[in-house]
């Protein structure tokens, strides 16, 4: 059943990606209502599938990440009217769900030992923090693309479809600022869990390293954006560098500790 629901979500995210790409294929821009409705429907099936899964394992984490990314896309569109974000979020979410399905979502698997609300919240907040970092990256990438078009005085599809620069900058800042407390809380819950339920759940050291590294990157980005008031192109480059570093460290750790079954 969860796989079936995930397949529907995957199809709807794919459709959302196609709708977002329509203006670049010479088609008329899709009505905003449809741009909201399709991923919302996908997210509804998705959440139904997620609730039936045990909240551990790489496949679950990837699926949860995809779900959060789609939710953030919908919220961004509703609050800031940044439809072009779906150009990245929809294919990314579809890819993550597809990967989760390939890895094997295990409906009805026995809950892991030591699973409790602390762990569930830790996973949810950490993945949300990661999704917000990904959103910040996407906003930054869109910013740099639009920046380049505006500087080069090219008034094509990117100029027309992409949101205004400052709105993308605002989205990037909001995602970083919201992501940091979410990830911080996720890390604190992990520490609290380790202290309170010591020995209840096996933790990979690489996972701890990556989690703390991601938290440090996000913290540094927020400090530069809020404390040092970095904006615009500089802030966009910072977000892209931070996200790339998180991704590279993840891959490095993954290669260094093959066969890990959890986050990494």
């Amino acid at each position: 059943m969860p796989s079936y629901l995930h397949f529907i979500a995957l199809a709807l995210y794919g459709a959302a990606a196609a709708l977002a790409l329509a203006p670049f294929a010479g088609r008329r821009a899709v009505p905003r209502g449809l741009l909201l409705a399709v991923p919302s429907a996908g997210a509804a099936f998705h959440v139904a599938g997620l609730t039936q899964l045990p909240s551990v394992g790489l496949a679950f984490a990837l699926s949860l990440l995809a779900f959060f990314i789609v939710c953030l896309q919908i919220v961004s569109e509703r609050l800031l009217r940044v439809s072009a974000v779906a150009l990245f979020t929809a294919p990314l979410a579809a890819g993550l769900v597809g990967l989760a399905l390939l890895l094997g979502l295990a409906p009805g698997a026995a809950p892991a030992a030591g699973r409790n609300v602390w762990l569930v919240l830790h996973v949810a907040l950490s993945v949300l923090g990661l999704a917000l970092l990904a959103l910040a990256f996407i906003a930054a990438a869109l910013y740099l693309l639009q920046f380049r078009e505006l500087k080069a005085k090219r008034f094509g599809q990117v100029f027309q479809v992409f949101p205004p620069l400052e709105r993308l900058d605002q989205l990037n800042r909001s995602a970083l600022v919201a992501g940091f407390p979410a990830l911080t809380l996720g890390v604190l819950l992990a520490i609290g869990y380790a202290v309170r339920f010591a020995g209840g759940f096996r933790v990979d050291p690489a996972q701890v390293v990556w989690g703390l590294f991601t938290w440090a990157v996000l913290g540094a980005a927020v400090w530069l954006r809020v404390g040092r008031r970095w904006t615009g192109r500089r802030a966009a480059v910072l977000s892209i560098a931070g996200f790339s570093a998180v991704l590279l460290v993840y891959l490095a750790l993954k290669l260094a500790s093959p066969g890990s079954e959890r986050f990494l």
Partner: protein
């Protein structure tokens, strides 16, 4: 009599902005430029100079007059450069068609824009004393064509202007414009229109006058909404805080230079600055666009933006072109009748001379006639002549209006040995 019409021009399709801005003539320069061209061999002329075009409409222009136009434009280019490669030449019907298309907004960068209608009117008013009958009629009818195209088609519906495109472009950088700060350099019509667009969008505007602050103050008062006025000397520091700068002064050279604004821009902490140069010649040095986070756009860029999304207006082009063709045909019919008039006049004069001579001869032979009878006989001869000439005259005019008068005119000349006027 020759009644040729020639157009020598340069427009946005044939020359880039950096060339067009050199060809642009201020109102005070028009009489001098036209006078020089007419002196070189043309009976009438109108100079239409806008940000997108510089067109000399000439009647009965000799080749020397055309050379004078190229020479005049070449001088404005400087460095011994030739203007001819940037321009075009249209004659007679093609010249009329070009003006009609211009007035209808068909030749504008922003299809169907209405500002050109006023510019055609201004050009006509400015050159009126030098235009001559044919160009006078041509420009008068061009305004009619412009109005007709805009009334009978939807080509002008929703067409943007450069200032409104400037606001749209600023919106692509800042999103919401409410609460932003704008600096308007210049206090002319275009500057005021741009400022009004920004005020409507909720932008806090400061008007900067190029010469006198009083003029800027007057514009600021008209705009209301807290608009302020300043002198140019105090404006440079505002580049550190303003979000949008619109430059539209009448200065003959760039007033906003890298050296003047770079120190202020460096203090912006990476915030974007949108500079929109609506002036021709340009007010902003192109190098300013190289500054980090500075987005510089000139009139060509704004018009490219404004010209987008005009699919519905483009669909009206065939109908608009049809109207233009109808009006060109109508004008040319009138124009053709002009060629017939002097021939007819001479023909009638010749007949009248024959009548007078014959009457005189008859009076000499019939000396016994009373004054009253002589008068009656004279009226009879006049009436007879008029009756004989009535049908041929009408036929000639009719054929001329239908565009086929040339052969009849030639026949008349040959049959009655009329002089050929050139």
């Amino acid at each position: 009599m020759s009644l040729t019409m020639t157009l020598v021009g340069v427009n946005h399709r044939t020359a880039p902005l950096e060339v067009r801005e050199r060809f642009a003539h201020g109102a005070h320069e028009v009489p001098g430029a036209l006078g020089r061209v007419l002196a070189a061999g043309a009976s009438g002329g109108v100079l239409l100079s806008t940000c997108n075009r510089t067109e000399f409409y000439l009647s009965d222009a000799a080749e020397t007059a055309l050379d004078a136009v190229w020479s005049l434009l070449g001088e404005r280019l400087g460095d011994g450069r030739e203007a001819r490669p940037y321009g075009y030449l249209r004659r007679d019907r093609d010249a009329a068609r070009q003006l009609y298309r211009v007035a209808a907004g068909l030749d504008s960068m922003i299809l169907g824009e209405s500002q050109i209608q006023g510019q055609v009117r201004d050009a006509w008013e400015l050159s009126r004393g030098l235009a001559g009958a044919v160009l006078h009629r041509l420009f008068q009818s061009a305004l009619h064509v412009g109005a007709r195209v805009r009334t009978e088609t939807a080509i002008g519906r929703g067409a943007a202007s450069a200032p409104s495109a400037a606001v749209a472009l600023a919106g692509k950088i800042f999103g919401e414009l409410r609460g932003r700060r704008a600096l308007i350099l210049g206090a002319g019509d275009m500057a005021e229109l741009a400022a009004a667009c920004l005020v409507d969008a909720g932008v806090q505007v400061t008007i900067v006058a190029n010469r006198t602050v009083e003029r800027a103050r007057a514009v600021a008062d008209r705009l209301g909404a807290g608009a302020a006025a300043q002198t140019l000397d105090d404006a440079w520091e505002h580049f550190a805080v303003a979000d949008i700068v619109i430059a539209s002064t009448a200065a003959p050279h760039a007033v906003v230079t890298w050296a003047r604004i770079a120190p202020a821009v460096a203090r912006r902490d990476g915030r974007p600055l949108c500079i929109l140069d609506l002036a021709v010649p340009r007010d902003v040095e192109p190098a300013v666009g190289q500054l980090e986070n500075v987005f510089l756009y000139d009139l060509d860029d704004l018009q490219a933006v404004a010209g987008q999304g005009s699919a519905e207006r483009r669909a009206e082009i065939p109908r608009a072109e049809q109207i233009v063709e109808e009006e060109v045909a109508s004008f040319w019919n009138w124009h053709d009748t002009l060629a017939v008039v002097p021939v007819l006049k001479e023909f009638r004069g010749r007949m009248e001379a024959v009548r007078a001579a014959e009457l005189e001869r008859v009076f000499k032979q019939l000396r016994h006639l009373s004054a009253e009878d002589r008068d009656r006989l004279a009226r009879f001869s006049e009436s007879l002549l008029n009756k004989f000439l009535h049908e041929p005259t009408l036929a000639l005019k009719r054929e001329a209006e239908a565009g086929d008068g040339y052969l009849l005119v030639e026949a008349l000349r040959k049959l009655f040995h009329l002089e050929r006027e050139e």
